[in-house]
């Protein structure tokens, strides 16, 4: 393969590629933000919710986790339009990823909260803290230390999952790459290039996760 042609082509296609990167970043960021807010609610409901609420939320997470993300994306794209909620592919896709993200974050939050020994709550009660105070000063901070590294991993998962939106026609990085390939027939070079970009971002996120884990660990 001729490197010069590759870089020339890449330079000519820089605008659509950069736009694609922009879309990928917005998809990931939106999905992570919405998914995290939802997911914290899910985690709290699974841990502290009254029984009917807990069952409802458990059903929600089990269903989401049993369904492939691609199916969530396709279903969100096709079904919402049918029932009259007119979302573009971008919104429908982000919604699907956010829902997927929320079930993951929910499980992470639940796991973290449940792994805190019961004695912690008892000790907090014994010095007269109310439940909101116990959560704010004792349970929350301890759970957060466990949640953060796993949450960073989920962020990387979302970046990877954002590629699925290319299938419903969202012009993110992968779709832009495919369009470029269909015009230039340089599939090896450009799939490699796209793959490398995703790798670089996710590898960065992974390293960041390790850093966060070290930073937040409790001295012992």
């Amino acid at each position: 393969m001729e490197l010069v042609t590759f870089f020339e082509t890449l330079w000519l296609a820089r605008i659509p590629i950069l736009k694609g990167i922009g879309v990928t970043v917005s998809i990931s960021v939106l999905a992570i933000l919405v998914g995290t807010v939802l997911g914290i609610g899910v985690g709290l409901a699974l841990t502290y919710g009254a029984r009917p609420l807990r069952w409802l939320v458990r059903g929600y997470t089990d269903f989401i986790r049993g369904t492939p993300v691609l199916v969530l994306v396709l279903a969100s794209y096709y079904v919402l339009g049918t029932v009259g909620i007119d979302l573009g592919p971008f919104q429908a896709g982000v919604l699907a990823l956010a829902v997927f993200c929320s079930s993951h974050v929910g499980e992470i939050v639940r796991g973290a909260l449940q792994s805190i020994p019961k004695g912690q709550t008892e000790a907090a009660k014994a010095i007269g803290l109310t439940f909101p105070q116990t959560f704010a000063y004792v349970l929350g901070p301890q759970a957060l230390r466990q949640v953060l590294p796993a949450w960073v991993n989920t962020a990387a998962e979302m970046v990877k999952a954002s590629t699925l939106l290319s299938i419903i026609g969202v012009a993110e990085l992968l779709l832009r790459t495919q369009e470029l390939i269909s015009r230039t027939f340089m599939s090896l070079e450009f799939y490699f290039f796209a793959g490398f970009l995703y790798f670089a971002v996710n590898y960065g996120i992974e390293r960041f996760g390790r850093y966060v884990e070290r930073k937040t660990s409790i001295p012992s």
Binding site: Q120, A123, A126, G128, T130, P141, Q142
Partner: protein, 256 residues
């Protein structure tokens, strides 16, 4: 009767179908040091945990300084008090646990300060000096910025006692505070409790340390199958047990 610090009347507690407390009565005056002894499953820890509402109870009443703990009865129906009210009542007692239960993400001083700041509403600098005073009292002044994971079991338990006592409780509850400790670390914790007793702190201890109970208590309660089997001053109890059960229990206990 209102002169009593603690007044327990006909306390009943069930876990499902199992009745673990079958009507316990107990009164305690200011400055009393009472040890509760008995075999495991006799209900002694449960009784202690009812006093600060870590356990719900289904019958009877507990009063501290005349104030009814945990429940109120209006028009014949018994209702659990509001969570906020219970939190306030819990702050009247201090508790030390078998497993210490220090907050692992806070330094020793921060552990002591949390309740002072959040429950008592003290300023941080004020709370810090109170925390330092109590950590000094339990011999850990120079460890105050260590995290629980950096302290030995005995040191952790002493921090936990400082955390409870710094809240200036009317009554201290000690739940088998030395059971999880290596033998060589037991004495440093018992010494702290003895010092507190000498200062006139009212306390209720669940313990397996018979010699300690003998030395420190003004009264001993022997729990047996959810009831008080026998009670009296330690000298009489240990030297002349009145019931077969207590005699049996003392025979299997070690006095070291």
């Amino acid at each position: 009767m209102t002169g009593n610090l603690l007044e327990i009347r006909d306390l009943h507690k069930r876990y499902g179908d199992v009745e673990v407390l079958k009507g316990v009565d107990c009164t305690m005056a200011q400055g009393d040091v009472i040890s509760i002894i008995g075999s495991s499953g006799s209900g002694k820890t449960t009784m202690l945990r009812c006093i600060n509402m870590l356990e719900e109870f289904q019958g009877g009443s507990i009063r501290i300084d005349g104030e009814e703990i945990g429940y109120e009865t209006t028009g014949g129906t018994r209702r659990r008090k509001k969570e906020k009210e219970i939190a306030r009542q819990r702050a009247m007692t201090g508790m030390a646990f078998q497993q210490f239960n220090l907050f692992p993400h806070m330094s020793a001083a921060e552990n002591v300060m949390l309740g002072l700041v959040k429950v008592k509403g003290m300023r941080r600098d004020e709370a810090r000096s109170v925390a330092e005073k109590w950590l000094d009292r339990v011999g850990l002044a120079e460890r105050r910025d260590r995290f629980p994971g950096q302290l030995s079991g005995g040191q952790q338990q002493r921090v936990a006692i400082a955390r409870a006592i710094a809240m200036n409780p009317k009554l201290m509850l000690f739940d088998e505070v030395t059971s999880a400790l290596d033998p060589e670390l037991v004495n440093e914790v018992l010494q702290v409790i003895k010092d507190l007793a000498r200062d006139g702190m009212s306390m209720l201890l669940v313990t397996h340390e018979m010699r300690f109970a003998y030395e420190v208590s003004s009264r001993v309660i022997f729990m047996n199958q959810g009831r008080i089997g026998e009670e009296g001053n330690p000298r009489e109890m240990f030297l002349k047990p009145q019931t077969e059960r207590l005699a049996e229990f003392l025979k299997t206990s070690t006095f070291n």
